[in-house]
């Protein structure tokens, strides 16, 4: 039972005094944000409505000590739908600022910098949508060097920095390259040649699918069920996490095509990952064209949490496009 002496008016005032927290009390708990929230699908304990409601009651301890206040990735999908016009991610930020002052910190996971590998090249500082990384002088093995440092209170564990780091100095548990490779290659899937070598009648495709671009449970189940010898689906935390090296590896192993599915422009869960995913695929397409490899074999496609059956449509389109390459490449029929 929560008693009224746990309802601290000063906590409410403190949150409302923070920039972004002004509208805390106009929330009437309609639950639109809670039902919209994509984070919730992976983290059922996260409920923005509940956090705002608890904060509005002044339950200081319960709010500040919870792990959930760090889980909002500020994707702002809920904000345009809030009937009270509350910028919920800003309220979360206000609450976090109060928490940081009170000595709390984010529970993680947080991107980790390998100090021995990091050269302080600053690439990661540019890609982080949350500006959570800076270069800072640190003493490593008796030497003062300026290397990357991640602010764990801002890091949303999106993995974009892990992809961006050109020297492999950034890591994030469960999202490292080794893990992605394992998923790609499991069951020897990469060891078969494909349609373009005349070894298969159906094009073999690899699909990197952003976990936020498909929303409904039944959609995911349907997509997972499509995995077979001609299709391998690898889930990414963000389409911006896609590694061109992995795409090239797949192509070099005889995979006929690689589909990268991400969110619509401007709708990225981590604010700009989809833009970066597109950038990588676009640049890779340019290089493929220079090298004489057909561009249609690597494509970026969009989907959103509001759409269904997009994946199957795009897959079918890619298959058709590759099948149509047969005459041009003079592939012997089998």
């Amino acid at each position: 039972m929560i008693r009224s002496d746990q309802m601290d008016r000063r906590f409410i005032e403190e949150v409302m005094a923070e920039p972004g927290g002004e509208h805390l009390l106009t929330c009437w708990s309609c639950g639109t944000c809670a039902a919209t929230c994509l984070v919730r699908r992976f983290n059922p304990a996260f409920n923005p409505r509940l956090i705002l409601h608890k904060a509005g009651l002044g339950l200081r301890e319960a709010v500040l000590s919870s792990a959930e206040i760090w889980a909002c990735s500020a994707c702002d999908t809920c904000y345009p739908r809030c009937p009270q016009g509350i910028h919920i991610s800003q309220v979360m930020r206000a609450i976090r600022n109060v928490a940081i002052r009170a000595g709390y910190e984010a529970p993680g996971p947080t991107a980790q910098v390998d100090a021995n590998r990091c050269s302080g090249c600053a690439v990661c500082t540019r890609i982080c949508p949350y500006e959570a990384i800076e270069r800072a002088s640190q003493n490593i093995d008796g030497q003062e060097r300026v290397i990357a440092r991640v602010d764990r209170n801002l890091c949303q564990a999106c993995g974009l920095c892990v992809a961006a780091c050109p020297s492999g100095a950034m890591s994030l548990e469960a999202l490292n390259d080794a893990e992605l490779l394992t998923r790609m290659a499991a069951g020897g899937w990469l060891e078969h040649a494909g349609f373009l070598q005349g070894a298969s009648t159906t094009p073999r495709l690899l699909a990197f699918v952003c976990q936020w671009s498909v929303r409904a449970e039944d959609e995911w189940q349907r997509i997972q069920a499509l995995n077979d010898e001609h299709l391998r689906v690898v889930i990414l935390p963000c389409s911006g996490r896609v590694e061109p090296a992995h795409i090239l590896l797949a192509l070099s192993k005889g995979v006929d095509g690689v589909l990268v599915m991400g969110c619509h422009e401007g709708a990225c869960h981590y604010q700009r990952g989809t833009y970066l995913g597109r950038g990588k695929v676009a640049l890779l397409n340019e290089m493929m064209a220079q090298m004489g490899i057909v561009r249609e074999r690597v494509r970026f496609v969009e989907s959103s949490a509001l759409e269904r059956r997009i994946f199957e449509e795009r897959l079918a389109l890619m298959r058709e496009a590759i099948l149509a390459l047969r005459p041009a490449l003079e592939i012997p029929a089998r």
Binding site: G31, A35, T36, L50, R81, Q84, A216
Partner: protein, 623 residues
């Protein structure tokens, strides 16, 4: 309606527009134009033989555009009068209808609009409301997913005189839905669109749910709501009945609706708050309970009838509690959703009330009007001298003043509500207000500022809000220093610049003018007139050498006693921070320039008596 049509003292002018309304309570003159039906009213029997042969189908707003009607048609089968009309935008003049009409010969393609002037004593505005279009909410999919419809569309689909003869089918495949969802508060209670609650949709959706459930007991019906508003007689009991019938109520506002393109089914994602979990509910059809919004031509009608609009856009009543049926313009009354969203019992009650209020007017020989009205002095009005002015008319919220070049401005006493805006705006000081003349106000000022004026704050406050606010401060025991002296006028619009300057001329330490908040002004737009005026006054004071910090403008409502006390306290502190000797010198230095400005005003006959007592020397040469 039929009774009304038959009543000997009621004339129904259907298919008509009110172009203009002149006059005042008890004596309105309305210019009404009847649009051409291209059907001769006296000859049309409403037999309906023309419509079936017409080859042109047009959108049918009565059927919510679900089904068409013909280019010659009636709005619906119970229309009063039951006279057909041709939509000339679509008619191709094939003459099929003429043939069908036969001997009745009721069709006349050459019919012209007819205008007539009607004299009426009272006007009731019952123009209704429109419906919010939910296609501006992309996450609900209206307009993209065929099986997402609005509540009004459902009304037509479930109605036995509707396009599907009462069989509820879903648009995508014509099947009877096995499951249905109602989504409440679509466009209502939403800061992005309309902040108000539309008031009728909870009950309407429950009603529809019960009707459908009775007809299709196995249909799964869910209602997604934030609150169920069932305040009136029998409403809560009705709601409980719906629950008992097995209609599912889920408290949660749906975040989005997605569609499975292969089945046409809809998936509603919502947090069930009582459960604390997100549900994904698959339904065959979704019904959006959309908001009531003002009619698109509300502004046009407001201009024609001199009506004001509330912030929500509906017509504004004289007072929301004490006179909810009356418009601020005397003799005009409201009934129904034109004045604000409400349900049928409330609309009917308002209709009776409006009739009663109008009857008072019609049965009266004479009508009592405001005593504090304004008068134009024809000798001073420059319009009478052939010059173009009209500032008074522009300031009047009630269109009570007519100005013609060559004649003095004419104030219609029955329309004047006594805000005093015209009095203050007139640059010739040609207008006076009964019981609130400049002389009377200056006389009060003279007494207040007789001794040690530089230690005093002179306050000009409007009667309805700020005076009430000051009173509220007193009654509520909000403490404030005793430096202020208040003069009451009816409206901040009355507060002439000259009065403020006069106060400074008399040596006042500080001056506060205070009125209503913009949306609260008793005289609709008086406060706005005042606000513009006082913005200019700051610059004037600077040029005169008066520190603009000595002048303050505040909008304080009758409930804001605390604010009044706070403002006076702040001003008092500020006043205390000024060196009094410096203030006196500042006033002295500005006096000559102020005198120059006030010269004409001071020379008015009414003002002479006030200034007679003073020993002002003739420092300024008269022109």
């Amino acid at each position: 309606m039929v009774d009304a049509a038959r009543h000997p003292q009621i004339t129904i002018k259907a298919y008509s527009e009110v172009e203009r309304v002149d006059g005042y309570i008890g004596n309105f003159r309305a210019l009404v134009t009847q649009k051409p039906r291209y059907v001769i009213e006296e000859r049309c029997t409403g037999c309906g033989e023309c419509a079936p042969v017409c080859p042109i189908e047009v959108p049918n707003p009565f059927e919510m555009n679900i089904a068409p009607r013909k280019a010659i048609d009636v709005p619906h089968g119970q229309a009063v009068p039951l006279i057909y009309a041709i939509d000339m935008d679509y008619c191709i003049k094939c003459y099929q209808c003429v043939t069908a009409c036969g001997e009745r010969d009721a069709i006349d393609f050459l019919q012209e609009p007819r205008t007539e002037e009607i004299e009426v004593g009272a006007i009731i505005v019952a123009t209704g409301a429109a419906h919010f279009n939910p296609s501006v909410i992309p996450e609900y999919g209206y307009g993209r997913y065929p099986n997402v419809i609005t509540a009004m569309e459902l009304e037509r689909l479930a109605n036995s005189s509707g396009p599907t003869v009462g069989r509820l089918i879903r648009p995508s495949d014509g099947q009877v839905p096995k499951s249905l969802a109602f989504i409440q508060c679509v466009g209502s209670r939403d800061k992005r669109f309309n902040e108000y609650c539309s008031g009728y949709c909870c009950m309407a959706s429950i009603k529809n749910a019960i009707l459908l459930k009775q007809e299709h007991p196995e249909m799964e019906i869910s209602i997604f709501y934030m609150d169920i508003r069932s305040p009136s007689k029998g409403y809560e009991e009705f709601y409980n009945r719906a629950r008992a019938m097995g209609i599912r109520f889920i408290r949660g506002r749906p975040a989005q609706i997605t569609e499975d393109p292969q089945t046409g089914n809809l998936f509603i994602e919502v947090e069930d708050q009582d459960l604390g979990q997100v549900l994904e509910v698959e339904v065959d059809m979704a019904v959006l309970a959309t908001a009531l919004i003002p009619q698109p031509d509300t502004q046009q009608l407001a201009t024609t009838l001199t009506l004001a609009r509330s912030p929500s856009g509906f017509f504004m009543e004289y007072h929301p509690k004490l006179r909810p049926i009356d418009a601020p313009t005397d003799g005009i009354f409201f009934a129904g959703t034109a004045q604000g969203p409400k349900d049928i019992p409330a609309s009917v009650a308002q209709g009776s009330a409006a009739a009663a209020r109008a009857a008072r007017v019609l049965n009266a020989e004479t009508w009592e009007i405001e005593p504090v009205i304004a008068h134009v002095n024809p000798e001073l009005c420059i319009s009478a001298q052939g010059k173009k002015c009209g500032l008074c008319a522009m300031a009047c919220p009630y269109n009570a003043i007519t100005v013609e070049v060559g004649r003095p401005a004419l104030i219609i006493p029955a329309k004047c509500h006594g805000c005093g805006g015209c009095v203050a705006e007139c640059p010739q000081n040609a207008i006076t207000q009964d019981h609130f003349t400049d002389a009377q106000i200056v006389a009060q000022m003279r007494e207040y500022l007789r001794e040690k004026p530089e230690e005093k704050i002179l306050v000009l406050m409007c009667h309805w809000c700020s005076y009430g606010g000051a009173d509220n401060a007193g009654v509520s025991h909000f403490q404030y220093p005793p430096d202020s002296r208040g003069i009451r006028v009816m409206c901040s619009a009355r507060m002439d610049q000259d009065l403020v300057l006069e106060a400074f001329r008399r040596g006042a330490g500080m001056v506060l003018v205070s009125g209503c908040h913009p949306q609260d002004c008793h005289y609709i737009s008086g406060q706005q007139v005042a606000a513009r005026r006082f913005e200019r006054l700051f610059r004037t004071l600077e040029r005169l050498g008066i520190n603009p910090e000595r002048f303050r403008v505040e909008w304080i409502s009758a409930a804001e006693g605390e604010k009044y006390a706070r403002v006076i306290t702040e001003m008092s502190q500020k006043l205390a921070s000024f060196d009094k000797e410096a203030l006196r010198r500042e006033n002295e230095a500005a006096r000559k320039a102020i005198m120059q400005r006030l010269l004409r005003w001071r020379s008015l006959p009414d003002m002479a008596a006030v200034f007679a007592e003073e020993e002002e020397e003739k420092e300024v040469a008269l022109e």
